[in-house]
């Protein structure tokens, strides 16, 4: 695995799901930074060192797509993947690079992360 040079920012307001998502990605070798809100994510992003953002869609103060637009406004080249447990895709879902279902399982998540990183020129 050569993922250890990649840092992923995982955003989710729910602690347990966020922690588990962080753990499985860590197991794949990624470095992980976690945030419990969009606001906190933007702060961490400003500090630098993030290669990809993986955010939940349904969050109370700032939704995944709102966060995505905020990120893309200041860092257009920052890849963003949204993950959702709801069965409806928001109308503006395409502001993110990918929008995936939580029930796709770990394999779908790893595959998507890999594809998006490759699209942004990160060679693994």
């Amino acid at each position: 695995m050569t993922n250890d040079c990649i840092t992923i920012l995982v955003v989710d307001d729910e602690n347990v799901p966020r922690m588990l998502r962080c753990l499985i990605l860590q197991k794949q070798g990624y470095k992980i930074v976690a945030a419990d809100s969009g606001k906190r994510a933007l702060q961490l992003l400003a500090e630098g060192g993030i290669d990809l953002v993986l955010s939940d869609q349904m969050m109370p103060s700032m939704t995944g797509t709102e966060l995505t637009r905020a990120i893309k406004a200041i860092r257009p080249a920052m890849p963003v993947i949204l993950i959702s447990g709801v069965n409806e895709i928001p109308a503006d879902a395409n502001c993110a690079d990918r929008f995936i279902s939580k029930v796709g399982g770990p394999d779908l998540l790893f595959e998507t992360v890999g594809e998006v990183l490759a699209a942004y020129g990160h060679t693994l």
């Binding site: 588990l20 499985i24 349904m58 447990g85 069965n87 995936i100 279902s101 796709g104 779908l108």
Partner: protein, 532 residues
């Protein structure tokens, strides 16, 4: 006798004495006596008054009696005016004849016998009066006839206008007698039921139309006779065997010997309402599914991730790892079912490569239990995967309809055959994927065949919306493809085949999903390829 009925008697003589004696003789008649001293004066009176009889002296200076009579006869108004000549000089046969030729009606010789003169004048006055009365009556009669004719013409116009208006109505307007025989059948009825007026007049309406009433016929008749009207929906059969539902209003004619029926076709309306109810139900189900999805999918992800971490955790011994493996496998089943039912139902925005055979297998998996239950044997002949560019939800909708219909056509069991093969189009560059779905079910009646792709057409009276094939055809056509079917019956066995041809067209041509707002539960969005 009132003034109006007085006859004007004109007496013409150049000698005032004679005029006075005539006046004395005729005074007792009580008529209106007018005196003229000359023919000119006489003409003046004639023009101004309606004269009943002219009493004139034959010999007068300037214009004599015969000349005056001649002048009168030339005027149409005086042609029939009675003239009595009085003559003392020309008392010869020749003169008499001359007098009559000029149109005189009588002749009195001098000396005048008063009784005779009175009698003659009186007869003419009476005759004139009678003529006048007759004329008045005649003109009155004519006027009344004219008025009545105008009235009749007006009524006729009104009736014709009303009849034309009845013909304009799109409702079927039917009048029948108390035995049910049709007396009137407008063009709205012709259009609705397909029966021409001349074919159906005189026939029993409810027998011909095979009417099914919402209540006992006797109860309807009773209400009609009690209140004079009845309203309700009737189910009837048209000339070409179609079932229609009509909103019917019946009214009993005042004299109680005819019934007016106004029927409006509400078949399509009912079907639309039914389809709408189903759509609303689907939308409500979608909302519920959305809430459930959120509550189930979130913990499900967490548990799945937990088992992923547990899978080869170094602290576990073989037994614990075996249990974790069992748990993970069971969890996969839950994840699979949620993906099918609570996964994304909105379509992705861009067409993606779709394996038709993979798509068919997914659908078959959903239908498997029903097919096993109905004792249906499945034969798959996939010559290749049949990959085309498209939107998975739409194509899934097409084949779910076709496979679902095929399965429903075989409640007593049968064989479902699926073929997938790629064919080369006439233009060398483009290929196409052909999919055929054949069943050995109940078959398609020739009458139904031509309506198969019409919206709201269904043979599953309560179970179907009648939209499935219509929507499917719309989707297939959007892909530039075709959908055809054949239903054969040989030796008591039916084979019905639907064949869908989907060309592998240019990606750019399909930019938008055909029915973007369709809320059909379906698989995850593009990119989810974990179970292929």
């Amino acid at each position: 006798m009132n003034d109006h009925d007085l006859a004007n008697i004109l007496m013409v003589d150049d000698q005032p004495g004679k005029l006075m004696s005539y006046e004395a003789i005729l005074g007792t008649l009580g008529e209106n006596l007018i005196k003229a001293r000359s023919a000119r004066e006489a003409l003046d009176h004639l023009l101004r008054n309606d004269i009943a009889v002219v009493l004139m002296d034959v010999s007068m200076p300037e214009i004599d009696g015969f000349e005056l009579a001649e002048m009168m006869r030339q005027h149409p108004r005086f042609q029939k005016t009675a003239i009595i000549f009085i003559s003392a000089v020309h008392l010869t046969d020749v003169d008499r004849i001359k007098g009559y030729r000029s149109g005189a009606v009588d002749y009195i010789s001098v000396p005048v016998i008063p009784e005779l003169l009175r009698a003659k004048v009186s007869v003419f006055a009476e005759l004139h009066r009678k003529n006048r009365q007759l004329e008045r009556l005649n003109s009155e009669l004519e006027k009344r006839v004219e008025e009545r004719t105008a009235q009749l013409r007006e009524n006729e116009d009104l009736l014709r206008e009303r009849a034309d208006l009845l013909e304009l109505a799109t409702e079927a307007i039917i009048v029948r007698d108390m035995n049910g025989s049709i007396l009137y059948w407008n063009s709205g009825a012709e259009a609705l039921y397909g029966w021409r007026r001349e074919e159906i007049l005189g026939k029993p309406v409810h027998e011909v139309l095979q009417t099914r009433f919402p209540a006992e016929f006797n109860a309807i008749q009773a209400e009609l006779h009690q209140t004079g009207q009845w309203e309700g929906n009737l189910t009837q059969i048209t000339c070409d065997g179609h079932e229609v539902v009509v909103a019917c209003r019946k009214a009993l004619k005042a004299d109680g010997n005819a019934i007016l029926e106004i029927n409006r076709d509400i078949t399509a309306q009912l079907k639309t309402e039914e389809a709408l109810r189903k759509t609303e139900r689907l939308a409500a189900m979608g909302r519920v599914a959305g809430i459930i999805a959120h509550e189930i999918n979130n913990p499900l992800e967490a548990i799945t991730n937990t088992f992923y971490l547990l899978r080869d955790h170094p602290s576990l011994d073989d037994e614990a790892r075996y249990y974790a493996k069992l748990g993970e496998e069971e969890l996969l089943r839950v994840a699979h079912i949620t993906r099918q039912t609570l996964g994304f139902y909105r379509e992705s925005r861009h067409p993606v490569p779709i394996s038709i055979s993979g798509l068919l297998d997914e659908i078959l998996e959903l239908q498997m239990r029903r097919m096993e239950f109905s004792n249906i044997t499945l034969e798959k002949h996939y010559r290749n995967t049949g990959t085309i560019q498209g939107f998975p939800v739409e194509l899934k909708q097409v084949f779910l309809n076709l496979i679902g219909n095929a399965a429903q056509a075989m409640p007593e069991g049968g064989t479902l055959r699926l073929h997938v093969f790629e064919s080369q189009g006439r233009r060398s560059r483009t290929g196409a994927v052909c999919i055929s779905i054949c069943d050995t079910g109940t078959g398609i009646a020739p009458d139904n065949a031509k309506h198969l792709f019409e919206p709201f057409f269904t043979t599953k009276s309560t179970k179907g919306t009648g939209l499935g094939l219509w929507i499917s055809k719309g989707i297939v056509q959007k892909y530039g493809g075709s959908i055809r079917f054949r239903s054969l019956s040989r030796a008591g066995r039916n084979v019905t085949c639907f064949q869908v041809t989907l060309p592998d067209v240019d990606l750019q041509k399909i930019k938008e999903p055909a029915f973007a707002s369709m809320t059909v539960p379906a698989e995850d969005m593009a990119g989810d390829s974990d179970d292929q």
